[in-house]
């Protein structure tokens, strides 16, 4: 009881005491009040809880909190800057990919990791990343459009 873990979240160092049962999602939502990360299922199959840990998209609902020690974590709260949205967020809005808004944080974080690791990911690779996420609202057309638009925006931003 009472293991302490220290890690970076969205650029700030944080420490929390664990009771032992928590997963990463519980630490983010219940201890740090970072509620942008969503819980949509109970068996790691919907992707709504995806955050980026040391550059890799991870399902926070099955990521043990005890493994957070020393990790760099980025959540949906950490990628926009005040009123300046991240290009992935802008693209999702422009493509009409936002309906109920529940799956979107996980999808944005998946793409954030995808494009950080491979800025020129092919459409197949983007679809492969998106296939780990469930959306009940859109039929996925607008989400794929948003993802490819985001890639273009980010590529233009680097030039």
């Amino acid at each position: 009881m009472g293991q302490k873990v220290t890690f970076m979240v969205n650029g700030s160092q944080r420490s929390v005491e664990l009771d032992g049962w928590e997963r990463l999602i519980d630490v983010l939502r219940e201890k740090l009040n970072l509620t942008g990360t969503k819980r949509g299922c109970d068996d790691a199959s919907c992707g709504a809880c995806v955050v980026v840990v040391d550059g890799v998209a991870q399902r926070s609902c099955v990521y043990p909190a005890s493994k957070m020690e020393g990790k760099k974590i980025v959540t949906i709260e950490g990628i926009s800057n005040g009123t300046k949205l991240h290009p992935i967020q802008e693209a999702m809005i422009e493509a009409g990919a936002v309906q109920c808004g529940y799956c979107i944080p996980g999808i944005v974080m998946e793409l954030y990791a995808r494009f950080a690791n491979k800025p020129d990911a092919s459409e197949e690779e983007i679809v492969e990343a998106l296939s780990r996420h469930l959306c009940r609202c859109t039929g996925y057309e607008a989400i794929l459009e948003g993802a490819t638009l985001a890639q273009k925006k980010m590529s233009a931003g680097r030039k």
């Binding site: 009771d19 049962w21 939502r29 219940e30 009040n33 509620t35 942008g36 990360t37 969503k38 819980r39 949509g40 299922c41 109970d42 068996d43 790691a44 199959s45 919907c46 709504a48 959540t75 949906i76 709260e77 926009s80 949205l85 967020q89 999702m92 809005i93 009409g96 936002v98 309906q99 109920c100 808004g101 529940y102 799956c103 979107i104 944080p105 944005v108 679809v127 998106l130 296939s131 996420h133 469930l134 959306c135 009940r136 609202c137 859109t138 039929g139 996925y140 057309e141 607008a142 989400i143 794929l144």
Partner: protein
Amino acid sequence: MEFKYVGKNIARPDAAAKVTGRVQFIDDLRLPGLLHAAFLWPPYAHAKILSIDTSEAEKCEGVVKVVTGKDITFRYGENIKDRLPLAVGKVRWIGEPLAAVIAENVYQARQAVKKIKAEYEQLPVYVDARDAMKEGAALIHEESGTFEHLPGMEAVPGTNIAGRYTLKKGDVEKGFREAEVILEGEFNYPFGSCSALEPHGAIAWFHEDSTIEIWSSSICPFIVREDVARVYRLPVSAVRVHIPELGGCFGYKSDVTIEQTVAYIASFVPGRPVKWVATRKEDLLSTLIGHGMRTRIKIGAKKDGTLTALKTTILHSTGASKDTGIHVLIASTHNSTGAYEFPHCQLEGISVYTNTPPVGAYRGYGHQESQFAMERMMDILARKLTMDPFVLREKNYLGPGKTTSLGEKLWESNGNVRKCADTVKDIVFSKPRKVKEDDRYYYGRGFAALMKSPKGASFSSKSCYLKFNADGSVSINMGGAEVGQGLRTVVRQVAAETLKISPEKIAVYTEIDTQFSPWEWQTIGSMFTIQGGRAIIRACEKAIAQMKRTASQVLRVDEDRLVYDGECIYLNHDPSVKVAVSQLARGYTYDDGVTVGEVVHTTADARLPRQSNPDACGQGTMGITYTFGAQGCEIRIEKKTGKVFIDHFVSCFDIGKVINPRQLRGQVTGGAMMAIGATLHEELKFTPDGQAVNPHFSTYRFPTIEDAPKKWTVEFVETPEFIGPYGARGIGEHPVIGVAPSILNAIYDAIGVDFHEIPVTPEKIMQALVGEGKK
């Protein structure tokens, strides 16, 4: 008419807050002293409860209270009061809660639930209406027949038949005598789940001053408020219901369900709020599920394709409560004609209690289940008559002057199914098919026409509260639930168009609170745009009239000589004689401080015009308007696996007027995708003893991006509807209706096999190919 804002891709007002994760869904709310609940679910789908021992659970760390159903003295329900907040005496389905632990955190609550000991005596289980209605079947509700209910929903006491709806139009026997061809078929649309990505949840807080505050991921706050007030004998005004952001609905967050359970357990810990948010398994088994309808259909026709008679019998496995399913069944029954006129109809729906989760609203509300049967039958009948299926349909489409099964005579303004069908036909069928099969695939094309009737209650209304601010900007409050469909954008566009001001100057409500929000019955039936839009226009026009009244004093002219342009009110023949809207918003103040006129804020509402209850023949007026459409697809079936690939899915609806093209496309692709899931993958399965087979997303096969059609085409016909704002009609549910029959018609086209039930999985296709000697 030229439009400035209607018909444009105006941005969603809520998009930035959603894409940053900043909006608050029910599980994101933080309240002082919040307690958490977990429930004990039964191991059996039908059993007497012999004993419940909570003593060990009460001793667990963090536990504040353990509640069982032993002292419950009330039932609830909107249509029929056959629901209990916790099981009393027996359990009737696998997801019926029978005890709750309230603890300081959810982990503690779940740990303590494991310590509750209960003993049961198993009873016979029925998961299908056909078994539950057999003579001598054990009763699921021994008290059935004594529950309080609305008129016309009588159960058959001493049986599991929970209710019947019968519709008679003309003389069905005469219709079959006139027929030269009679065709019968039976089609099954099994259980499914709406499965919004946000699970359903609620918070209830019994305050020290005898008021109750509730938060729920619900689309009917005012119904929840009234029902909770009734149970706890409080004035309706003493119950306050908040609706935070909703992560999808698709039907099952309507009606009163989990709120009564959470309120009941919270009543044991007054002074502290209690939260319960379903896990996915709980969301699938303990809220509401969809469908469970078996449709038997008999059609009579002349040799030239003229339809003469329709007999439909729908058996509905409604689950352990019929409260939320009975209207779905009624809608399914009278809509079983599809988009066709039958002069003689006898349509019957039989609601049967089963030991499965209660069926409730699911996007489409009964339409897709029975029109699946009708649209498959149209193709089969055309084959029997050796007619082109399009010609058969065209001969019988509903339209101006034709009457629906309900006896409603349609007007031109109800929409044009022929135009929708022609659009889909041109896109999918006008080119000759390239190949019928190659080494790897069979190819097929399918079509279905559809009709969506309205569904409401005669008293139902949607209201709008509109407030002009000092600078001429506007704030709007309504009671309509934004579930992702984009109604906030529609509010902005309709109000901007009517008030002639830019959408950015209109702030739209972000949450519903029964203390502040104007009354709305509930946000169902794809009616927000048409009904809510009319309420907005009325509120805007009242505000303009108010400002003209004040301006007539200021400018010293009659009101009917004044013109409003969004910025000013001016004299019709001399625009230089004017007063600014910003000077009128709170009355007009002269230089000496004397102020005249009213503060500009208005309320308005819009009902379902002429909506009536069913008469003795089951007929009546549905109010508002019908919507017609058509869907079609091009598919490939992989020979090796039996997997169906949708290369192109086409939808066309007579929308009346396109308000926001991008949002409409998203509604259509999203709705069609849900129904593609139901057609090819999704089924919520139960074993014969009522156990859930696949109550998680890993096994309940929800479609992913890899299941999406390679190409979507979405088209609209615009036949103006006079009731709707600028001619618009609804769209939310319509895209699910024609999907299953169009795909199954395409499967027949590809491999010559008629399927009568969904989902058509690769395994079923492989079996059929073996049966056809194609494997």
